[in-house]
Subunit: 335 residues, 2 copies
Amino acid sequence: MTGKRRPTLMDVAEAAGVSRALVSIVMRDAPGASDATRRRVQEAAQALGYRPDSRARLLRSSRTRLLGVSFSTSQPFHAEIVDAAYAAAQVRGYEIALSAVANGRPESRAVEALLDLGCEALILISPTLGEQELAGYAARIPVVSLLRDDAGESVDSVSSDDHAGIRIAVEHLTSLGHRRIAHVDGGDAVSAAQRRDAFRQEMLARGLEPWNIPGGPYEEAGMEAGKQLRDKRPTAVVAFNDRCALGVMESLRAVGLRVPEDVSVLGYDDSQFARLSYVQLSSISQDAPLLAAAAVERAIDRLEGSGPPAHLVGTPHLVLRQTTAPPSSKSQPNG
Amino acid sequence: MTGKRRPTLMDVAEAAGVSRALVSIVMRDAPGASDATRRRVQEAAQALGYRPDSRARLLRSSRTRLLGVSFSTSQPFHAEIVDAAYAAAQVRGYEIALSAVANGRPESRAVEALLDLGCEALILISPTLGEQELAGYAARIPVVSLLRDDAGESVDSVSSDDHAGIRIAVEHLTSLGHRRIAHVDGGDAVSAAQRRDAFRQEMLARGLEPWNIPGGPYEEAGMEAGKQLRDKRPTAVVAFNDRCALGVMESLRAVGLRVPEDVSVLGYDDSQFARLSYVQLSSISQDAPLLAAAAVERAIDRLEGSGPPAHLVGTPHLVLRQTTAPPSSKSQPNG
DNA sequence: TGGATTCACTAGAACGATCTAGCCATCTGA
DNA sequence: TCAGATGGCTAGATCGTTCTAGTGAATCCA
């Protein structure tokens, strides 16, 4: 069924009339072989259809050049990050081993699978593990926490500056002329408190009243919060994230309010939801791919021997689409 | 920084005062050790925090009990399947190695990474590789094509019965009383032709006129197609998939038509989009998790020596939500 | 010219597991 | 009592690589 077994270094060596070690040298592009032999070995390998066995390779070499990335199957968002991580790793000549956090497969399982594979460093996307456990892993190999900055001192972190994101949001809306701006917050979701506080500070700094409405990270919470906006109407809303913003918009639409003519709505994350052609939600982008690349860089830097854990913070930016506009004159009660 | 190196079999053996081989036996739960020693070895392993090195283990043993799964980072849908695959593999005592198809990382790369890891079988989600290439891999190890049934005779396939899905859709709508039903098709997307043909047949079989509108797999196509529904109005629409359905709905909504009061809309895939709380799209579910489990089963059965490649076909089912209802009397011109 | 250096290459020992063959008791049965 | 089975255990080979320590020849430099 399986045909004959896959060719090994030994087979190539025999075919090319050299030693195993030399074939290894050639395959790794390591110095120590003449151009002529190099060519001969390459040809033999090609002819036999030789592919190095990564298990054996990883086993033997102290350096595996393997980065472990854990992600959650329930966060479509994570897929984009994985994508970017592959690209970044490739540039530096590293490989990536994936392990998913799934139903009935807790994060600890995912991480341990990566360790068993011989990863040299771990990149955990929005890890939910306790600081203790993370520190435990970090004692063995470098660990980078991505999109979570309070994972403790023992691990590196790469995250996004929530305060700056909210500042950009408020700045954008005020520069359009909005003054009655509400924030539908994320309840007790990760980063929600930071964004809530930032909103408060940024509004006060501009002499505006910080108007916070309890919400949550999904559409339901946004819709619920949206109901409170019908009586005392703001001219603009900053939502905790895109899905929350969708809920808010749906709720406004239900009572005949138009976006952005009557109310501007700004999301957060620049997720696929914001990009939907019929949504076109203006949003604050954390630039996840950029952060992913930074996390990979950070992990590799740690491996190749730069100092203690560091905490990188990326700056978000505004992605302008169709849901924010200057306030209409009629919805502006007084100057 | 990295503390001391991880413990090996040898370390455990010394600690327990036995041979490496015996520790191996105990760790694998293989016969050949007394209960007393078994306990002693387990304790020593525990104390040292020993975890078997999967690289070494995989290298040596002919059986790796490793299934390779390739998925695409751009298909949020695939994540659900991965999730289900993990669960199914665990039940049969297999592990799963993931490899993503990402930007700048073609499917062939993903597959080869899995082969290098020593996977015993491959499960490819909606593979886009040519029949030739698939056959090439299939000559080496069992390959299961998931969600694609025309991958050739050399590979196993587990897919969903598109005709049955469309039959269920048409059945559902006609049983509600609809007779003027349109199908917004998927253009040249995978499975689009099958569903288009099935729609035609099912409508004809019921003495109804098969009304097909060219569409596509994303919102844009749905919106475009929706415009054609404004003049000659159907009472119900079967969309190629959920995203297409969302576009159709958006387009209807733009001209003041309500769903489902004026027009019923039925999606396909039962994706996360259909489940959004403010969408509540009725949809045909392919039951991806079930299919994933079937694919895992199939791969393992092949490995453990059942005959030639087989082609399994799952039956989809209806997930009823809020976008389908009986036609309103006024939108029903004549009996 | 002759010692040092460089270059192309090789033999053999790792890496950390599993597997095969075999050893030494103890048990069985005639 | 002794050949044969059985159960518990071990030594050593092995998987396919990479790494270390060399070897022999050519080259360099004074």
